[in-house]
Structures are given as C-alpha cells and as structure tokens.
C-alpha cells in the first residue's frame, strides 16, 4: 500500500486546489509506483499493460489487465480493482472502464486532475472528447512539488538505498588489486552482486552498474549498444575507473558514482581531488532551504572556476532522487525551483581529467531545516579508492 503520509498528501491535493479537484487520474509507471507502492518497472517498456489509477475522495480504483491483478493484490493493494480482459486494444479497454467510472460517480462532469508531464496527449484527447462536460486540469506543478518533498519513510528508504549501494561498490572494489586485474564485465557484475548481497532489491532495466576505465571513460555510456554490461577489457595499472550503480530499495532509488585508482595517487592527483572535496564542501554549504536550484548551480559553477576544476556543467550539478533515479529539482541554470526541507538530492560533479576521462562523484543529500546532510557514505570518498598491490 502507499506510504500512509503520501495517501494523506494526495488527499490534500484534492482539497487544496482552488477549483477543488474531484478526482485524480494517474497513468504512468513512476507515479503508479508512488501511489500504489507496487513497483512494476516493466510498465514503462510495455504500454500494452495499460494501468490507470482513479483517485477521488470516496473511490480509489485501479484499472489493470487481468494478468496484473494478482500482482497488485498480493503486493498489498486493498482498494478497488477493475480488471479488464487482455484484448487487441488494451488502452481502449482501460479508458472505457475509466469513462464508465467517471460517468457513474460524477455523471460525466467534475473537475478531474491529471499529470500533464506524463499523461499521453492522445489519452487526454480521448477523455475530453468522451466527457465534454468534465473539466480537466493539469496538476503537474503541485504533483511535482509533492514528490520533491519526501516523507520521513521515503527519506529512510532513500538513505538505506544510498547506504547499501555505496557499501556494494566498496565491497566490489576490494576484489581488485593493482597487480591482478579483472575484466570490466566482471567488476560491473561484482558491483551489482555486492549491492544485492547487502540488501538492495533486485531490479531489471536501468538498475545497472558500470565500471568504466580511463581510456573508455571519455563518455558516460561506452560499449554501445550493450549498456551497463561491461566488456572483456582488463584494467591497467595507474588508471582511473568510474564506478556507478543505480539501485532499488523498497521502490526508492540510489544513484551512486565513485572513483577508483589502480595504484597510488601522486601529489598532483591528491591536490586535484582535494579541490573536488573543497567544491563539495562549498556546495553543501550553499544548499539550504529557500535558495533557488539555479542559484545553487551558479554558485557551484563560480566556485569550480575559482578552484580551476574543469567541470562538465552541461550535465548540471545534480537533481532530485526518489521513486526515479533522476527527478526534479535539477541543479541547473534553468531550474528556478526553491530548495526545501526534506528534499533528497544527488549532488553530482562530473569533470574531465587529464586524458579526457570523465570522472563522476555523486552523493545523496537530505535537505535539513538549516542546511543539508550527506547520507549513505560507506567510507570516505574524498580521494579516490586506491587499490592494494596484491591481496
């Protein structure tokens, strides 16, 4: 079932709107996960499994194909369920049930909220055509804000996800030594397996890892079209390796990136990473409730110039994290959204090092009343992990 606080907050959205929403319509996988508490990653890839949630003051109904009915009930969905038989036009079948419900409950009228950022334009056209007397209202702004501010339980899940993943990366890299290399594919697998061993929940699709070494790290996604798989490439001595993992814990995501060096860092390298540490410390000092995300971006960019770090500012300096590994707000030049207490953010620095390799560090932050706090760090990553010579 949805986390109780979220349930209350969704009900509040129905009431807070000036025009008083009568009901909400939710159709996309991330928001369905948020509200039902049931994560089905495959909904994003398989639109034929059309699921619609209708949420009014008196009626919370999930419309789903028969194949998914037992999944939702066994995972704790205790509200109404309308099951449609699999057919050649599943979206049409799901929408037909929705229309019937709106006719029954509101006699084809009412103020109906939808999330324009995720609802298909075609679906909205079908609804407005069939219900000319209903008033459809895009509630994207208030919905995004709702998801940006996390409940205590969400923060716990996100902190745990960050902690388990970071521990998984640390566990995996202890299997690598300077003189005994292993393949990129092997280390990629080891990161995933070590995260699972520590309690990250198994996931498909983008719940993947990467362990990208120096010469291949000039792009964020090498090895096309086999992404997050790795190759038989073996690591050389004195090479930076970008380590990444997107994990899942109780539906909430981790988005972790660390750096490994196969050898011992020299003084110049130590000095460089000391500047990255300074940049992180500075960034954490400016992330406070009340500041605009774009202002945080500007400040970090300015500080990075002062420190002489070649940051890839085109990627921004981070974003929110929750049900999805990347979600609003964005620490970018364009996002004027205000940072608020109980947001969870990924603070990200991507920069090019001497040989063109892109190195990335990511930390999970929780915004507190008087600043922010890094969570989930298994160890001190202020300088890259340096491998031992032998085991």
């Amino acid at each position: 079932m949805p986390i109780n606080k979220i349930k209350e907050r969704i009900s509040a959205i129905l009431n807070e709107n000036d025009d008083h929403l009568d009901a909400l319509i939710i159709t996309d996988d991330a928001n369905l996960t948020y509200v039902t508490g049931v994560q089905l990653q495959l909904l994003a890839s398989i639109p034929y499994l059309s699921v619609i949630l209708f949420w009014s003051k008196n009626n919370r109904t999930l419309i789903c194909p028969s194949a998914l009915a037992s999944t939702y009930t066994s995972q704790g969905w205790k509200e109404n369920l309308i099951i449609y038989a699999e057919c050649a036009d599943p979206q049409g079948a799901a929408i037909a049930h929705l229309l019937q419900m709106i006719q029954t409950e509101f006699k084809g009228r009412g103020n109906l909220g939808y999330i324009g950022e995720s609802l298909s334009g075609k679906t909205l056209s079908q609804l407005t055509e069939a219900l000319p007397n209903s008033n459809f209202m895009d509630i994207s702004d208030s919905w995004i804000r709702l998801r940006e501010i996390k409940t205590e339980e969400e923060i716990d899940n996100l902190s745990e996800a960050a902690k388990l993943t970071d521990h998984g990366i640390a566990g995996a890299i202890h299997h690598l030594s300077t003189l005994q290399s292993k393949t990129e594919k092997f280390l990629t697998e080891d990161i995933r397996v070590h995260s699972l061993e520590r309690g990250i929940h198994i996931g498909g699709y983008d719940a993947v890892s990467q362990a990208v070494p120096g010469e291949k790290a000039d792009r964020l996604w090498p090895n096309a079209p086999a992404f997050g798989i790795g190759t038989g490439f073996t690591y050389n001595q004195d090479t930076f390796v970008r380590l990444e993992m997107l994990g899942i814990y109780n539906n909430y995501r981790s988005n972790d990136s660390r750096i490994l060096y196969t050898g011992v860092l020299n003084q110049m390298q130590m000095d460089f990473f000391s500047k990255i540490k300074d940049l992180r410390t500075y960034a954490c000092s400016v992330i406070n409730p009340g500041i605009a995300a774009s202002k945080v971006y500007e400040n970090i960019l300015s500080k990075s110039k002062e420190l002489g770090i070649n940051v890839l500012n085109e990627l921004g300096f981070g974003h929110g994290i929750g049900i999805e590994p990347v979600e609003p707000p964005y620490i970018s030049a364009a996002d004027d959204g205000i940072i608020a207490e109980n947001m969870t953010l990924i603070l990200k620095f991507a920069f090019r090092y001497l040989h063109g390799e892109i190195l990335v560090t990511k930390d999970t932050l929780i915004v507190k009343p008087d600043g922010c706090q890094i969570v989930g760090r298994y160890q001190n990553w202020d300088i890259p992990y340096q491998t031992a010579y032998t085991f």
């Binding site: 057919c87 994207s140 699972l196 929940h201 198994i202 090498p222």
Partner: protein, 384 residues
C-alpha cells in the same frame, strides 16, 4: 539512418514532408541507433527527418552513443541548463523543425508517445504544422521482420535460454544441504545471459511454490530455494536491441506425479498449438483453437484471452495474440507464444516459444534446447 525504412514510411504516409519520432523503439527501427534504457530514463530522444536529412536529438548525458553506432547524420544535443529534460527536449524539437524548413508543413508524428506537456511545449510541431499520426503505420511495418531482424531475434532467444541454463547449473547441487537464495538465482540468470552475449536485461522475476500463483512477484528478501516446489522465471533480455521474452518453469528436487503430469500436459498443449501456426490464420481463430485444445487435454488456463504477442525492438509489440484480434498471421512475423496453465496447486506454468511465422508453418527460434520434460534442480554436492 535506415533510408529504406524511412522511404517506405514516407510512401505509406503519402504527402508528408517530414517525420518526427519520439518513441525509442521507432527511432531504433529507423536509425539502427539504440540508447541506454530510454524507456526508463527521464531524458527523451527525438528523430526529425526531411528530404534526405535527419537529425537525432539527444541529451548531453548520452554524447558519443550515436556516433559509436555509426550515426553520421546531424545530432543536436540538449542540456538541462535549457530547462527540465522535457522542456529542453521540446525546445530542440522546435529548433530542428525550423532548421529543416518543416515549419507549417505536413509532418507525420508518433502521436501516442507524446505527453500533454510535450505537445504544449513542442508548439512548432503541434500548433504550427499540419501533423498527422503515423504510429499505427510504423507499428504495422515493424510487425514483419527482415532476415537480419530474424537473425537477431534468434540469437536473443538462444542467449535467453543459455542464461537460464547457466543459472540452473549453479543451483544444482545446492538443494540437499547448501543454501541458494532466489535473488542470487535470479541474478545468475542475468549474469549468464550477459556472459552469453546479452546487450541488456529487461524485467526480471522469479517465483517459487505458492508465490507462483501470481504472474509477477517482486523478490525482496533472501528466501532460499526449497525442495519440492515449482520455480518459475519470467524475464526479458535483448541482443542489439532485439528482445526475447523467456518464461520457464522448473521443479526443485524430484516432482510428484501430479507436478510432472501438469507440466507434460502444458507442453503437449504447446505442441498442439504450434501445429496451428502459419500465415493466413486469423489470430482470433488461433486463440480459439488454443482454448479448444486445452479443454480436450483438461488443462486449466490462467488466461483465456491472450496467448502471446509480437516481439522485436520492443518487448511487446504487434500482433497481440488476443481472442478478439481479427488480424491474420503473416509470413515474417515473429511472435512469442506464451500460454499459461495452472499446476496442481494453481502455480502458473509457463514455457515460452519464440516463433517465426512462415507461409506454410513456422520456425522455432527458441531452439537452444527443448523443454518438453520438466527440468528438475537436483543434487547434493556443491563441488561439481
């Protein structure tokens, strides 16, 4: 860019001067370029084509990905410094339409892929142009596969089964006295599919015993494989963008007569249904035959409305093998036959077959091995 496919589409949509796509699988079909988990990503990709020119619209995060796959036409990168991923993407779409002189012209669009917000933001496309929906046209084109696609789908089917066999080999020997968790088993499926050449894993699911009554059951603990139970894996994986759905049922330890018999009947049903497959058969008629055969064999079906679907650059694509589908099978279609029956304790039994439809019959692409006998995970020695 796959010019043949683009030209065929333009011919189908007579009078259209440009094409705009957002669906990653449609873009993969028209460009041969694939992206990292695009359906799960907050970032959109776009393709705009006109008069032999093509522009891929890609987030800065995916720089290099298209070039690595031999894309030599234009690329426009967008960044989140221009807006949210959706805003920045739509600005890039508008810019590209103007650049290719498509403003106000007749443009075909994969309309169902666009959200309400994107339709509002990509105003040069949706408000200034004469757009029409070409989603159905391209889905129909994608139903029939060429030989290169069939080869990729064949390879995907083989990799999927090899992934399962590799994981089963790890589980064997752990049943009598050692411990093997469901999560570890499922991860071994992924790892072995990758070792045998998979380009990416889709959904991953395993269920055991009573949990197997539910089609899809997320695993969130360290439960162990237990003797005397059915075990069922449901997963998808792709090879160079071409997917395979591989659902298989096994037994942990030695089955009782009722378990073995239920599985054999399931496989008998599949054999009978395969004989019905050939070009020209109406899909609804085929589905009715499945139901008739199940009744004759006294096999209880989980679902009498759907028995599989097409597969290709999407995990599920047309045709959908549903009882109400009036379309007919055509030579060149590749489908996954996914008949689900109930075991003695109402566990779901699945054993998918990936099939190429031919004029006079079919070719089995999931031919790494046959699964006619119930695969039993047995053994008590872990040192083999």
């Amino acid at each position: 860019m796959n010019e043949t496919r683009i030209n065929n589409l333009l011919k189908e949509k007579n009078g259209v001067q440009g094409l705009v796509f957002k669906s990653p699988s449609h873009i993969g079909y028209l460009t041969n370029v694939l992206f990292p988990y695009p359906d799960q990503s907050p970032f959109n990709i776009g393709l705009v084509t006109s008069a032999g020119k093509a522009v891929l619209i890609i987030p800065a995060e995916w720089k290099g990905v298209a070039e690595d796959q031999n894309w030599s036409d234009d690329i426009l990168y967008y960044t989140i410094n221009e807006g949210s991923p959706s805003e920045a993407f739509c600005k890039a779409i508008n810019k590209t339409i103007i650049k290719l002189n498509l403003n106000g012209k007749a443009i075909a669009v994969d309309y169902p892929s666009w959200t309400v917000a994107e339709i509002n933001r990509a105003n040069i496309l949706f408000q200034n142009s004469q757009w029409s929906d070409c989603d159905k046209t391209i889905r129909q084109s994608r139903m029939k596969k060429d030989q290169a696609e069939v080869d990729l789908l064949h390879q995907a089917a083989v990799i999927a089964d090899r992934g399962i066999i590799g994981a089963l080999n790890h589980a064997e020997g752990t049943i009598g006295n050692a411990e093997y968790t469901l999560v570890e088993f499922l991860e071994r499926v992924r790892v072995h599919a990758i070792e045998f050449g998979s380009s990416g894993i889709g959904h991953l699911n395993v269920s055991m015993g009573k949990q197997g009554r539910v089609w899809f059951t997320p695993v969130r603990d360290f439960s162990l494989l237990e003797n005397g139970k059915f075990l069922r894996v449901v997963y998808t994986q792709e090879f160079h963008g071409y997917w395979n759905l591989c659902n298989r049922t096994f037994f942990i330890g030695l089955p009782r007569y009722s378990d073995d018999s239920a599985y054999r009947l399931h496989q008998n049903l599949i054999s009978l249904c395969l004989k019905e497959l050939r070009a020209g058969i109406k899909i609804s008629d085929f589905c009715s035959e499945v139901i008739q055969h199940a009744k004759a064999l006294k096999v209880e079906l989980f679902n009498e409305n759907e028995f599989g679907h097409g597969i290709g650059l999407s995990e599920v694509e047309w045709p959908l093998l549903t009882i109400d589908n009036p379309e007919s099978f055509q030579a060149g279609m590749v489908i996954v036959l996914d008949i689900i029956s109930l075991g003695p304790n109402e566990e779901l039994i699945q054993s998918t077959e990936t099939i190429l439809i031919e004029e006079n019959g079919y070719q089995r692409l999931s031919d790494f091995r046959d699964w006619d006998d119930l695969y039993c995970i047995v053994g008590c020695r872990t040192t083999h």
